[in-house]
């Protein structure tokens, strides 16, 4: 391969097959990082991408596992954790200050006086970490879904065998591996460099790759992720030069000599392969430590210590001595520059443990094998990621955290990049050894992510901004409207720089507004009337065909969740409108009532199918007369009437109602005809001074009429009485919520929505607390300056005073506020009746 990677000012030469770590090791680098908390030197340790020791920043991306990442010419590599450098780290002084940073230190130290924590917090945050997150624009990854019969995770021997066997049975088989998969098996779809990061219900397995996320939906999952090497715990176990057998063998495989003189601990068959690898690389074996059962397996000519115990590793910047106690009890320090530990395997079963019971997820091969970690020493680092030692666990235990889950939360062991792969079993064994009950000495719960994953990969499937648009959206944009979010919809807020012009068009001339966002429902079927009667408190029995009525929607508790109009269509059924934001809930409510009560009624959601255009203002009728041949005079089409009319050739269901307090026609039309209708109205209205209005103008117009917005002016536990809407409830009938209202009938509400008049101000008063003296007794929910009234008005809720009366004089910040009756404008309703 050739080439070099850049490590600070150094140029590190590369050989064929090098990982970043092997190239660094060959170049003489032994300290790969500094530990998170105490800034201890950390060297190459597991060699399989499990532990945190070799995490580096590559080309600005932190958290790269250098031991499994192929090296490339020109890579810029940075070691993390030290200041000013990893080799000369001033912060390593923290390793002498354990007393200041005990386990759970954030509850104990730097907390008195109180200001100290703010300072300590800043310093601590700057001194820890695994690198800096890259800044600048993020390129979102892609995401896709994949369906198959069998997903095999892991491309080793067991995984390949499982995949081949499944494919031979004719099952669509996918095999994934976080590394390369040489010689892909025939008939198997192979996803190399795809790391399984989580198993979920379904089952569903998420795979992260350099490009993005693949969500696999298999019929069954086979976990063939193999086993990690056991992580022995003893004093000095984190010194550079102390490494697991696979790391040493991996270096040899890449042509790197792990050291000159090695002490090797072999406690299982794989360890002999590691020993052989070291010998083949020319490493001098100072001693081989084996249990009695393996004594005869050690090759001749090697110094063998049968049954010896590892006491500690010693050295300052790297290991110099392995200190052992032999079978006779004699303590020996054996000089070495690499201390290789092959003490057993532990199944890599986190993906299996993440899956719910009963899910078709099984482990095969080494991932299914049992593991039994050695008894822990009395000292040493258990969790390399979070710098948690045996002493820390003991202290936590003494403080009362007496289960593996509690130990985890208090000490943060298992919470680092390895997610417990190295230390999880130790934590459980520690609790068990101290007599914790079985359920308190379990492995801690496995959760995604099993592998460190960049946030942009995780975010890949959720980058959509989902907007609802009416068929008039493009016309609004072309007209220069300021379009923004209103719930899930994109709607015009204003069409020009002068919102008062839109307001005046409604009050003085004629205006048009896109109200296609309203919820619209057709209720038909033999029991449609019964459904309407049950679902709403509105009087239905006297609502004649061709008439509409204000509709309040209450849930079973009698709380208002929406409002709208109820229109009787005669034999065709009933037409219900809801607020724009409440359409989904209204549909759910109607379907639920129909199902629950067994009504034979069809609930048809027309929200997407029908657009709606409001024509409002004193000249509204005059405008429409020129566009329709149907009678729309006051007698033929009175206020709250419902008619079929054809406007500019567009068939419309028209309702003589609006929210703005002027003569208004809500024209409900086929969605696709909306643009034609809008253009015709705007064109015909031009001589009359028509200007379309948006949500900004509507806010003032509806407030002048005292109409509350459900959601903005109401709270989730508002009853009709609290809103002053008792008149919208027909007392003489049963409906969902009527029992609840009956129970409340005897008591007056403690809170109610009222009209407010302010000394000054406008919309900025919305949300401001209402006070009597210093006491907060309510809140402004809507506020505006009314041009026609030349007053500041609003709505808000207030609480009853201790004396039993509602206050009438209040303050909103420094503004005087009076409670006044609504509507503020045209209280008799003469204008809207036209």
């Amino acid at each position: 391969m050739g080439g070099r990677l850049r490590l600070g000012r150094r140029r590190v030469p590369l050989d064929d097959g090098d990982t970043i770590a092997s190239a660094m090791y060959r170049a003489g680098i032994r300290t790969f990082s500094r530990s998170l908390k105490y800034h201890r030197r950390r060297g190459l340790y597991c060699g399989t991408g499990e532990c945190p020791n070799c995490l580096v920043t590559v080309d600005g991306v932190p958290g790269v596992r250098s031991c499994v990442t192929p090296a490339r010419d020109g890579m810029r590599v940075r070691r993390e954790g030290g200041w000013p450098s990893v080799e000369r780290d001033v912060l390593s002084v923290l390793d002498r200050l354990h007393a200041l940073l005990p386990v759970g230190f954030y509850y104990k130290t730097f907390i008195r006086p109180r200001w100290m924590w703010a300072m300590a917090d800043r310093i601590i945050r700057r001194s820890v970490g695994l690198g800096r997150l890259p800044v600048g624009p993020v390129v979102a990854g892609t995401s896709r879904h994949l369906h198959c019969d069998v997903l095999v995770v892991g491309g080793g021997e067991s995984g390949r065998a499982a995949a081949v066997s499944a494919a031979a049975r004719g099952e669509r088989t996918v095999l994934c591996d976080e590394g390369e998969v040489p010689d892909p098996p025939e008939g198997v779809e192979v996803l190399a460099r795809h790391a399984a990061i989580g198993t979920y219900e379904g089952p569903m397995v998420s795979l992260a790759s350099g490009e993005g996320l693949v969500e696999v939906h298999p019929e069954r999952v086979m976990i063939a992720t193999g086993a990690t090497e056991l992580h022995p715990v003893f004093p000095g176990n984190d010194l550079p030069g102390v490494m697991l057998g696979r790391a040493a063998a991996g270096l040899v495989r890449r042509g790197v000599k792990p050291g000159v003189r090695a002490v090797v601990v072999v406690e299982h068959d794989e360890g002999f392969e590691h020993l052989e690898a070291l010998r083949s690389a020319g490493v001098r074996i100072a001693a081989v430590v084996v249990p009695g059962s393996l004594g005869s397996a050690v090759p001749d000519g090697l110094r063998t210590l049968v049954g010896a115990d590892v006491l500690r590793a010693e050295g300052r910047e790297r290991v110099r001595f392995a200190v052992l106690r032999d079978a006779e009890g004699v303590t020996r320090g054996i000089g070495c520059d690499v201390f290789v530990l092959s003490t057993g395997r532990s199944p890599r079963d986190d993906l299996l443990r993440m899956s719910a019971q009963g899910e078709p997820v099984e482990a095969v091969g080494d991932a299914a094998a049992a593991a039994s970690p050695k008894e822990m020493s009395t000292a040493g680092y258990v969790c390399l990621c979070e710098d948690v030692s045996v002493a820390d666990l003991e202290r936590a235990w003494d403080e009362g955290y007496r289960s593996s889950e509690l130990l985890k939360r208090y000490t943060t062991a298992t919470m680092g990049p390895c997610q417990g792969a190295m230390c999880g079993r130790h934590l459980a064994a520690f609790a068990a050894a101290r007599g914790a009950a079985a359920n308190a000495a379990r492995r801690t719960t496995a959760r995604p992510l099993a592998r460190p994953t960049p946030l942009e990969i995780l975010a890949a499937p959720v980058h959509e901004v989902i907007d609802k648009r009416t068929s008039l959206h493009d016309l609004h944009v072309a007209a220069g409207a300021r379009v923004g979010w209103s719930g899930p919809w994109l709607r015009p807020f204003a069409y020009g720089d002068d919102p008062q012009e839109e307001y005046r068009a409604v009050r003085e001339r004629v205006s048009v507004m896109d109200v296609g966002t309203l919820g619209k429902f057709l209720l038909t079927g033999p029991d449609a009337k019964d459904l309407v009667d049950d679902a709403f408190p509105t009087r239905v029995d006297d609502l004649a065909p061709g008439r509409a009525r204000y509709l309040l929607a209450l849930d079973e508790a009698g709380y208002v969740f929406d409002d709208g109009l109820l229109c009787s269509l005669g034999a065709e059924g009933w037409y219900v409108t809801s607020t724009s934001g409440g359409a989904d809930r209204m549909e759910g409510w109607l379907r639920d009532r129909a199902d629950r009560c067994g009504f034979r009624a069809h609930v048809v959601d027309l929200t997407a199918e029908r657009g709606a255009t409001l024509v409002a203002g004193p000249l509204a009728r005059e405008l429409l007369v020129g566009l329709t041949d149907d009678p729309i005079d006051r007698e033929a089409f009175p206020h709250m009437g419902v008619r079929e009319v054809t406007v500019a050739g567009v068939p419309c269901g028209a309702i003589r109602a609006g929210f703005v307090g002027e003569v208004a026609f809500e024209l409900h039309h086929p969605r696709s005809r909306g643009p034609d209708l809008w253009r015709a109205i705007v064109e015909a209205g031009a001589p009359l001074g028509l200007a379309p209005h948006g949500l900004d103008a509507l806010e003032v117009l509806r407030l002048e009429k005292g109409h509350p917005y459900v959601g903005q002016d109401t709270l989730p536990d508002d009853t009709p009485a609290k809103l002053g809407l008792e008149w919208a409830v027909h007392a003489g009938k049963r409906f969902a919520g009527s029992h609840a209202l009956e129970r409340l009938a005897g008591s007056s509400p403690e809170r109610r929505l009222v009209g407010l008049e302010f000394d000054r101000g406008g919309a900025e008063l919305r949300g401001v607390p209402l006070r009597v003296g210093a006491r907060i007794v309510g809140r402004v929910t809507s506020a505006a300056r009314s041009p026609i009234l030349d007053r500041s008005i609003g709505l808000g809720w207030i609480r009853r005073e201790p004396e039993g009366l509602f206050p009438e004089e209040l303050r909103a910040d420094r503004v005087g506020v009076r409670v006044v009756p609504t509507p503020f404008y045209d209280p008799a309703g003469d204008r809207l009746r036209g």
Partner: protein, 130 residues
Amino acid sequence: MAELWSVHASEDACDLAMRAPEAGRVAPDEVMVRGPIAEDLRRAVHTVDPGSLIRDAAEGWAEVTVDGTDARDVFARVSALRLPDAPGYVQGDVARVAARVFVGEETIRVLVPAYWESHLRRRLEAETGG
């Protein structure tokens, strides 16, 4: 878009409506039919359920067709729905909105409420590079 009909009827009547060539069962009491419904089938539905409602639903739905050899791969980038191998119907989340999907021999027709049309087109165009 082709004709699109919505059948609201009893379960038995909906079973009958499923005999239409391109029909999808939306709910026990609702069937969506893409294409015309034969007159005799309409009569049969009404006979089984006189209160049934058969409506022209084309106005309310936007149809986006995904075709070509990689249609299924493109679809898999925006939905977890498992498509049937043979022509058929599925419904569920596509590009995070509720969708109805008619799967043909070589095409996938995704239908969403019309107010989500621009969203769906935008997402699919992003996946297909326009």
